[in-house]
Symmetry: C2
Subunit: 385 residues, 2 copies
Amino acid sequence: MEFSRSADSLQPSYIREILRAASQPEMISMAGGLPASSLLPVDLIRASCVLLTDKTELFQYGASRGYAPLIETLTKQHPEQNDKWLICNGSQQGLDLISRAFLNHGDGVVAEIPAYLGALQSFQLAGAEIYPLYQGSEKSHNQSQPDLIQLENHFKTGRVKLFYAVPDFHNPTGRVWSEETRTGVCTLCRHYGITLIEDAPYRELRFSGDQHSSLITLYPEGCIQLKSFSKTGFPGIRMGAMNGPAEFITIAERIKQATDLHTGLPQQAMINTLLNHAEYPNHLARLQDSYRERYQQLTSELIRQMEKQVQIEVVEGGMFIWLKLTTGSGSEVAERALTHKLAVVPGAAFYPKGQIVEDNAIRLNFSNTDPINITEAVSRLRRSF
Amino acid sequence: MEFSRSADSLQPSYIREILRAASQPEMISMAGGLPASSLLPVDLIRASCVLLTDKTELFQYGASRGYAPLIETLTKQHPEQNDKWLICNGSQQGLDLISRAFLNHGDGVVAEIPAYLGALQSFQLAGAEIYPLYQGSEKSHNQSQPDLIQLENHFKTGRVKLFYAVPDFHNPTGRVWSEETRTGVCTLCRHYGITLIEDAPYRELRFSGDQHSSLITLYPEGCIQLKSFSKTGFPGIRMGAMNGPAEFITIAERIKQATDLHTGLPQQAMINTLLNHAEYPNHLARLQDSYRERYQQLTSELIRQMEKQVQIEVVEGGMFIWLKLTTGSGSEVAERALTHKLAVVPGAAFYPKGQIVEDNAIRLNFSNTDPINITEAVSRLRRSF
């Protein structure tokens, strides 16, 4: 069989290989981006699942745009945003629909590097070229924020169509854009006519500090926001939503139809129940509290056991710590960690092919690690240096 | 916003417009391809839905290939087929994954015309060129079977990569390939190295006559079979599966991952419960019996009320009758029918852009029309001539 060029160029993901290893017995995994299994809000949808099969209409074909009551809920709960929504199979499908809506072969997409490779895979599958915006570049005036001069230089090439951003608790670095950065990026995108993708899966996982403006409220005419229900709800049912300008949602709906007709209705009904449940705000608070505790415990242990080997950048939410190593290679540490029954992802895994790779970091997930294992996990990590 | 060329060229589907009209009050719809709502096997999964939230692992991330117990069921229930399966969001997503796995811009795909336009949309979104295999061509030696000489001529161009086929109860024509046709097509595909897509959503809806060989059993090394659970199970949960050679399933799994990570687990568990239920074979038999009755009642009424205006081709299963009009235009009849509160799809809607259109037919769905409405539906159709 002779496959297409874009299919041939898709590499099996290194992270997936590690996740496979992570499922071995006695392994402690800080590798994935999973929410805590013990905190999945299944209790809030139990009553609704019991009655699921009484609603026969949920088992018949539905609308490509999405389940009307869920769209109504999203519109009501986000009055400050655009009122056009499209329901998709997790925000990963949102990325795929965006890629197909905008990208011709060879078009440019700016992405902060290191990056969530699942996003870059979507763009590359559509034949896009990645323009890297290196995070923490030494040339940048502010190492914790994206370099707007570098960004504008990319836009000036005239070849860029999209800027893919994770402004809240970036994966893998955990960084948050300042209010000034948000305004600056939106001004640049508006000036150069660039469509801005605000990927916001971790936005509601803030456990300290103040929330900043959502990009879509600053640039409603040119921004598409991706909402995920995998971090605050359930990853296993594959649910996300896109919010954006009407002209985009209309095109995305057509592509969605050609792609898989519509997202399944029972799973949309589950998320609608969750979002409308009186206990949902408490669930979010519990999630934030628990992740704060896990994060604090992890950083305390890292400082206690490994102060000289690593540099910790403080995060105010999300699921990850981007751990800079003062010496040695992240890839080698990650490989040795596996032999000590600890799975972590080396920073180098978040650099797309053909870009400058810094192999001096590892990403640690703290949301899915049982607190009783954190001390042992750090001890295994220490022994891997 | 400036969209991609392939997104711009996607037309809103005429059938969707009709389906929108079909949902108006007092409308009788014979337009869609929906299973009978009253026969959806919700009873068979009720007990399993009640316990759904006890299985927390169904709400956490899963494998891109699919839910292991479901893959095991499919492998066990189809021992005559290849043992490689990939679960997808309905067979529509299977078509999309196939398109992306195989097609570079400009590659050729042979499809029987008239055709299910949702399939052609997938191919066109990948930039493919459609090579039409006209059904019932007057030049063909056997009007009820595809013309293998025309097919081989397409293959001889050297530009064709895929042949998209619906050998059992074709949508929209309801036709079935003879055993001789199946062998002939597989021999040609093997000779020219063409990948054959066997789209089989209606295969299990045979209500008379004998089942023929599945294409994948005749050409296991080069055929991909698409299985849908929308016609025998529930369309609303969006579930399908692909069966094919290992090298294809590996590539398709990678694309699936970049597309939406994996198909949701609760919905896979529902289908697994359904397929393993002791009552499932009885459900299938009930579906076949009921569709046979609806089909017979519809054809009797057509003969009684409209014998001179229409030509009925006998079908042995599926969901559709392809009604040839002895005079007049299918498009005009369909338009007038809407004013009489009857929704039907004109045959012309199944011809891709740029191909020869025969406007002398309409497609009637019989699976989703309540038997008590059939006499009135035919009366409305008669008044639309």
